[in-house]
Symmetry: D2
Subunit: 339 residues, 4 copies
């Protein structure tokens, strides 16, 4: 049994990590930490985690996080790098924040500012090359939710050279991706019944991460036009992605079939079926579909995930399994909660 700690256990990512880890047969849950909520029982913040209701949250510090085999960091960006730097090299540290995702220092400085903490193996095992880097590692950078879904939708086509490196991504998301802090634009009465775009014009910090992933897959620099949209549901992201065809569209289905044939969490849907986030609720799965628009001469790919599961905590546990040498699917739900 591996002993794990979760820093930031009172938030949405922390709660989802604990939901998944409670069902994992090879871990035992150790220290749980929080910021302002330190000293209070977890049940106040995560009433759905019944078996942990009486656990008291501790301060987030190197001392409280010491002595665990695995430490998950679900902290604001900047903070996780700071904490991680104080954890031992033999501890598996899995950062659900942004601090170690970008390999390009200039991109980090432009999008986040401050010192670049460097990059860690990137926790999207389905991306070519990623799985090898994750096996046995002691450091994992968990991808952002939008880059996860957009990358899964697009990389097979880019890797196969079937589309031009100029992609447009519109991703519609439930509101939990924006976190648990109450804010006017996330107020219940405001979000129910509302669709709204935000950080339009390439202003979302997940854009450079998509550029990094897709450029890596394509082997050439990829331009990404990304627009996020908020929709009235708690969880789920649906990404609609398009790029100009380089050829006549031949080979697209085959490229996706090849990319996902052995991927346990990716459901390339039967032709004619299209992804729905509802099928992925609480699951570590992604639904993917692709087609060609013959008039626009474009590939259109759509992918759906649960932003908190495959898009954050599930992806983190999947990477943990690889890092620890456990079966990659261990403890991770392949079924969604529907309807």
């Amino acid at each position: 049994m591996k002993r794990i700690a979760v820093a930031g256990a009172s938030g949405y990512a922390g709660g989802e990590l604990l939901r998944l880890l409670l069902a994992h047969p090879e871990v035992e849950i150790g220290t749980l930490t929080a910021g302002e909520s330190a000293g209070t029982p977890l049940g106040v913040h995560q009433p759905h985690l019944l078996p942990l209701a009486d656990r008291v949250l501790e301060e987030t510090s190197p001392e409280t996080l010491a002595g665990h085999d695995v430490v998950f960091l679900a902290l604001p960006h900047g903070r996780s790098a700071e904490v991680a730097a104080q954890l031992g090299d033999d501890t598996l540290v899995i950062d659900c924040g942004a601090d170690h995702r970008l390999s390009d220092q200039a991109a980090w400085v432009r999008w986040y500012g401050g010192e670049h903490a460097g990059s860690w193996p990137y926790g999207l095992p389905e991306l070519p090359g990623a799985r090898d880097a994750l096996r046995g590692t002691r450091r994992v950078a968990v991808p952002g939710c939008y880059p996860t879904v957009a990358t899964l939708a697009l990389f097979p086509a880019l890797a196969a050279g079937l589309v031009a490196p100029d992609v447009v991504v519109t991703a519609v998301s439930g509101t939990s991706g924006a976190g648990k802090s109450p804010k006017p634009h996330l107020h219940g009465a405001e979000v129910m019944g509302a669709l709204s775009a935000y950080k339009v014009g390439g202003a979302h910090r997940h854009t450079p991460e998509m550029v990094q992933n897709l450029s890596g897959a394509a082997g050439v620099p990829v331009t990404v036009s990304f627009t996020p949209v908020l929709a009235p549901l708690p969880r789920g992201i649906l990404a609609t992605c398009t790029a100009p065809l380089t050829g006549d569209g031949t080979g697209i289905r085959e490229a996706y079939e090849k990319a996902y044939a052995d991927e346990p969490f990716i459901a390339l849907l039967p032709e004619g079926s299209w992804p729905t986030t509802a099928a992925t609720l609480g699951a570590n799965t992604a639904q993917v579909q692709v087609t060609v628009d013959p008039d626009a001469q474009r590939l259109v790919a759509v992918a759906a995930i649960d932003n908190l599961t495959k898009g954050t905590a599930g992806g983190a546990v999947q990477s943990m399994n690889l890092a620890l040498g456990l079966p990659e699917t261990m403890g991770l739900p392949l079924t969604g909660v529907a309807p």
Copy 2:
């Protein structure tokens, strides 16, 4: 490993049964049947059940259901009694429909009509006496979703004689409880943004089942005024229940603590906390809280469940565990999917 069959696998109850059974370590999933959908793959109807996507649905018949250790019936009322009658006595038959819930023949005739199939051990283990009847049984009547939540909210007070046998129940439900058949009043654009009462004035068929459960607990006939309300969410029922105090309210908390102290799926919340359906999504749990209204001299109890899990399929699997002699909590989620 027990081999199970699910009749009615394309519906909401059937889908939830399969979601839970896929995670159960002591069962293997055998035949899946359906009505009109026989001959089609399950993935068309339940896209969230990825591991079973290619399973082809068979006709519902004694022949297709034969040869299993356990048969779950998720069929329209009337139909399940008919099918059950043709299954062997050594098969564990778990009826998620209404056919075997009511012990009073006259009540059956009044509320459902047609011949009374008789009653089976009632699958609400938390109800006094129920667990004993379930152990080793080969027939289980799974409770209705509303009776489950109302009974859990009220029986401890009635059993202890702390309230008069005259209860008022308003239960607000997500729309999956009404089933998967498209109907005008369940159309998406109609239910989103709408609250509506239905079958008002004691007209809902779950009323006699509440009367049966609560009268049994109280030891005297209990009058139940029940009003169901539809709200815009897929899953979840919140029941608010009230009854006049017989005394000064002393002993209420103790009665609930005693009733639920050893119940693994029932969370009697800390005083001051109130149930939310969100904490039970996909879990086999119920949240319960109780207080006294000093002005109205009434007990007010509130309970929340997921209508498809604890209210149907989870309760069914819990009863299966008891019937098979397995640990009662085996394979059943204690954590909800939140937010």
Copy 3:
């Protein structure tokens, strides 16, 4: 043309007042005030009020509110009494807050605390006697949203002596009734998909107002057991109300027909139809239905309103019309926005 001011124009009640007043042919909109938002344009806070987008919010003070024929106060309780005290007797002051609703000083002190500002004519014209008091008045206390809907559901039966004065009310509400300030339990991801009860056990401040209204109608003290429930929609309240029959139920339909025959905003539905909040969205209407539960020997009445329209701002404008001698329905929508 009457010149009106709205104090608290950046909140939900203020926004709804302005939406209705913009469509009113006999008013012109003067000063708009706010607290922290003073100095900012209304369009930032109420983007749906396009014609007023550039209006700059002023401070809430006797000076800014002076010189208007009508002043609407949409302020926190306590604050409106303070402001109202400084406005002239010839100004029509319409208080959407609680300060002037309760006539019983002891009830005020118990439920709100502090000094009792006294009571004003109560702005529920449908309540017997209320309309006369509103005609020509210069002070109006707008009812709370829950008391509005519960009173409309129950007073005809109580006034006719057809039920015992011991009522149970469960009212399910959208979240806008809780106001615009972001709070953890009103956070979008928390409320979507959730049903939760709050202030259970008679703890909601709207309870004494229901007691006042219903006792007045019944002519005897009425006991009210009130439980509010939050549901995932922005607007709408559905109240399910029940009380023991005093007789055999004869005369109930007639009592409601008589009470509502000439009421322009109340739709007593055809028998067999039940209220839905969706039909009242944005309308100043209430849908009402009533029946008898023959087993429980109870009357069950259900009413639906939009909490911000008939439940707050629409009721306020209806009272304004009466106070100013205008046609009662002037400027008020009789149609909802559905689906």
Copy 4:
């Protein structure tokens, strides 16, 4: 007073037409017709239209529709052309269906099949040239909801030559746009909590209408890659649209300001604000915003409407006003119902 008839009064478009026409000072509502629902009162189908609750629906036929100044057709495609052909040339016929939208016969045949009924003046007054064609006309083709919002988002940039004629549109829609007929994928429990794309790859029939509008504005053929997405809300469409810049982005804001300076229903938002459908609920307004993505060298424009108001019935009434020589804004709400 103009006497109007509505064919298809039991559906969503018909209901919204009646909601708006009830508030219009220059019309009186005459015959209301339906298909299967003929013979039943409107209140059964449109409970929110209280003043028309007792109106009995008639059969849709030339005889029942005769004798009106204006006839609105809210009928399935194919059917409206058939009915329109039998109405007199002096009757103003406003077709909310698709039959008379496309001017290109080949496009009609490809996308809808059957005989092309010809094209009528196109009811999007904001489109250059459209207003002149609508003044005094006796035939109006009301645009589709998706073409309305996409055209408003994009035509100013295309007309000014500021972007290349190769646009990508993702439009997220509430479910009322899919109509009132119950269908499995529109079932309440399925749509709540779900985001799903449909008719992906340019397969939606609104695509050729966008091509027609945008090509007309650009003066050159425009390629449109259009993906519609269903989201869990009853009403509202948010379109995110992008196209490559032809220059350095200079002049974009000016082009939109010029296009919309005098448009009463179009709110070009202040820079930094982004459209939300919530602000347009029930209003005949569109919110529009535009920016440049400097990395992708693309324009990104976003627009929000209520699909049933500006996207269907409101647009129809706006065109009616123009056709009849009434003030264009008469009877049309400029304010949304929020929150």
